[in-house]
Symmetry: C2
Subunit: 245 residues, 2 copies
Amino acid sequence: MKRIKLTVAYDGTNYHGWQVQPNGITIEEVLNQALTKLLKEPITVTGASRTDAGVHALGNVAVFDTDTRIPPDKISYALNQRLPEDIVIQDSCEVSPDFHPRHCDSRKTYEYKIVNRTFPLPLRRHDTLFFYRALNVENMRRAADYFIGTHDFKSFCSVHTQAETTVRTIYELTVAKEQDILTIRVCGSGFLYNMVRILAGTLLQVGTGERQPDQIPAVLEACDRMAAGPTAPAHGLTMVGIQFV
Amino acid sequence: MKRIKLTVAYDGTNYHGWQVQPNGITIEEVLNQALTKLLKEPITVTGASRTDAGVHALGNVAVFDTDTRIPPDKISYALNQRLPEDIVIQDSCEVSPDFHPRHCDSRKTYEYKIVNRTFPLPLRRHDTLFFYRALNVENMRRAADYFIGTHDFKSFCSVHTQAETTVRTIYELTVAKEQDILTIRVCGSGFLYNMVRILAGTLLQVGTGERQPDQIPAVLEACDRMAAGPTAPAHGLTMVGIQFV
């Protein structure tokens, strides 16, 4: 028996998120089915980031245990043959039997992308938020700086969370602009439910001038979901990758 | 009566190209129908670039004549309300009544995008060609340089062309690489049927080493479609824009 780690990229547009649920098809379910058929043993993967419906990934991580004799690095190739074109394994390798993608220290990176122009770009409609109001990127950057470090992010967490603690560490939070596309990139020790989307929604309010950057510390201190901005739509969010430390 | 010029962006994935045809829905047809309903007069647009099935656009151009009292710059907003999300008007303005988007001097720019890595990127599957073999970008650039200038591009033209002359001028042809994505960008006085896709297919052969850059002059001189490389798939191609000079 060995433990295999998959790096998984997907276009989340047509999925009800990562985690198996009764209402619709999920990434996890598609992986379980394809692996079970490929390896001819019942497989259940464990995901690192249980992304919401509509959220995408370049490098989410899933692990599973198997007795297969397929070499670990060849599983990616064999599995991709059985996956739809909107889910592609980027890498497969063997890991220690006690490796668990959620119960170990890691740095996760997400990007939230915004097309900021008068009219939408049809080719980017699935992986970016279209936003036509002018955005003050400098103010967004100033606001972003307040989030860096270890804080109680209770204001930036869906009230539906089951997390034991709402304290998290953000290592990096940048706002880059290339032509009409803004990328909010955040790297942290872990994120609460909807946290990145609420960060993005709050930074958008700063961009439009509805909020000032120097109001962010008070929003953090409030420890109240109502103090932060709205949850930005899922389809602008991409799980970029996870570094296990 | 005034003539209106539209700048049109589209995701060509779900269309049978630009030009109205019996076998499937086209960009031109969707524009004609939406404009006819919006302006309450029969409208037929004339396109600058009659892109193939699956080809995309950021800035294709279409013109039509109308008696509408909607201000020309407001037509874009009104029309976008009636268009599907994969076709978005980027600009509308009045032009001279004798302006014709194909019978006037222009510089057209196209981009052909290639995802060059071990596994495909699901989010880029519709607007890039996935190509896993290693590509020598320096050799592709050397080959690209041979195309710049005025040449007979008969070798780079589908045998189904109806063009009177196969001489065209290429002003710019670059191969850029950003992370795993190669962009072949070409700007020219006009392009023959399938010309950009045959250029891309030939440059890919140079990238893999099947051809050497210094063989390009002989391919041009041959004036024979068989001398050039294959026609690269449509979905990697985007009509970027047209400058009328």
